[in-house]
Symmetry: C2
Subunit: 284 residues, 2 copies
């Protein structure tokens, strides 16, 4: 498995997590400024697209392999920006984005993983979860939407669920977009100051912000309990948007490289088909 | 409604259609060569992305508007290329691509529009149909999968269906990617000659190709019977890939411009929220 300097710097080591000790405006594993970072991201486009097409091509040989990128983070942390700038580099045909909002009544009547299962990407796809099953141990815990025992049960259920997916052919990339409270304040302020961005603002965002310390604690527990060998978490400093986009792209590239993707071999007689095409009756 | 030179040149006039009279390697409505065409496509990126974001933003005010791009064409005509190069210009978050293959047993047990309804884009999205309900009056007719009376019924059903969608807030862009039989032969030959492209080749493609004249006739009837005021067909000369990508992008851009998309106005008190943010207790 190829592992870049960025991936090595971002992969969460086992043990307790203290998010206040992880800088939000750093650029771990990357020696360079904003322009360098943007250039590095752009330079990945060709290889990302090539590898994605190979993954897509594997559908024709009934491969079960696929990628699942899980994006988590506080409001304004940039999940949408990653979708636009990083996922936007690859062929939209092979991408399946699933956004998870507050669960509907029907979804609430099932186990929390029921709607997650329905949002999983088919084989050959790069699936992206914009929020995910982790909301069920984050907002659900902070806001008390589930009992403590149920929250406790869910950590294990998530680990089993993800282990099963990996055994089935999924590569899972879990990213926590890590911003500071000050950076969120600045971003909310920008939305309020710019009429073109009012649609992105919701007074509820500020209510949620009041729970910042509780969310941080909830994230710390989640990161410790659900960062596993087969599906580790990456905490991505995200105050710098360019670094955030670059880091997610690098994790995606590393993952695709690690799959050693080959073009499927022909399951037909190439010479015979070539003759058939050459000798066909004229078609008008 | 803004209408570009390209759109004006490609919109099908009412009446009988003779596809042999429509050049496949022309570039109607565009004065320029390949490099100019590629530059023109690239130059559209910013405005396309801006307008798409406005459409996406309208979800927050419960707008029902959305775009549906229907891509039809013979094998190798470039539906995948349009997805990559044209749809790839906009935010993947707001795109919903639905590919229609041979119907499953379940799908066949319902009316032909049943699975189409399920593949429609939600409000705010640009939906793309890679093949569509038109297969049910194309391959279904050529290969006799439905009786002639049923095929006849379907033209009317399609027109009613699309009129209903337009009344509900859809903008429909229908594109027939028009290539010559010789161009298809060349493209199939390239796939056979390049091991990296063998996965794209299927011996069935050549069987289907033998029906080329019947497909042309079936397309001509479809184009005449289902090009309506609210959902006209565009026949896009597609031997030149750069022109094909540019033309579809231009049709999409014209459509988005025609919607006169505005950023939604705030439904909250901007001044009050700004004060609330400024005066909040410190968050760590």
């Amino acid at each position: 498995m190829t592992s870049s300097a960025i991936a090595n710097a971002l992969r969460l080591p086992p043990g307790p997590v203290d998010l206040t000790a992880i800088e939000t405006d750093a650029a771990p594993g990357f020696d360079g400024k904003k322009t360098d970072g943007k250039a590095a991201l752009y330079a990945m486009g060709g290889e990302l697209a090539d590898l994605q097409e190979r993954l897509w091509a594997e559908r024709t040989i009934d491969s079960e392999r696929r990628v699942l990128l899980v994006l988590q983070g506080m409001d304004t942390s940039g999940k949408g920006g990653v979708l636009r700038h990083t996922i936007g580099l690859v062929d939209p045909q092979g991408v399946r984005i699933t956004s998870f909002k507050a669960p509907t009544d029907e979804e609430r009547s099932h186990d929390f993983l029921w709607r997650i299962e329905k949002g999983l990407p088919p084989a050959g796809y790069i699936g992206v979860f914009d929020r995910s099953h982790y909301e069920d141990v984050l907002i659900a815990k902070v806001r008390g939407f589930a009992e403590p025992e149920e929250i406790e049960r869910r950590y294990g259920a998530i680990n089993e669920f993800e282990a099963r997916l990996v055994a089935e052919g999924y590569s899972i990339i879990k990213c926590m977009l890590h911003i500071s409270a000050d950076e969120q304040k600045a971003r909310l302020g920008e939305r309020l100051a710019n009429p073109d961005k009012h649609w992105k603002y919701n007074p509820g965002d500020l209510d949620e912000r009041a729970f910042w310390p509780k969310y941080r604690e909830a994230y710390e527990v989640v990161l410790e309990r659900t960062s596993t060998q087969v599906a580790p978490w990456h905490v991505i400093p995200s105050d710098k948007k360019w670094y955030r986009n670059l880091a997610v792209a690098q994790l995606l590239l590393d993952t695709l490289r690690g799959l050693d993707l080959q073009w499927p071999k022909a399951d037909f007689d190439v010479a015979a088909e070539t003759s058939r095409l050459a000798e066909e009756s004229p078609v008008q």
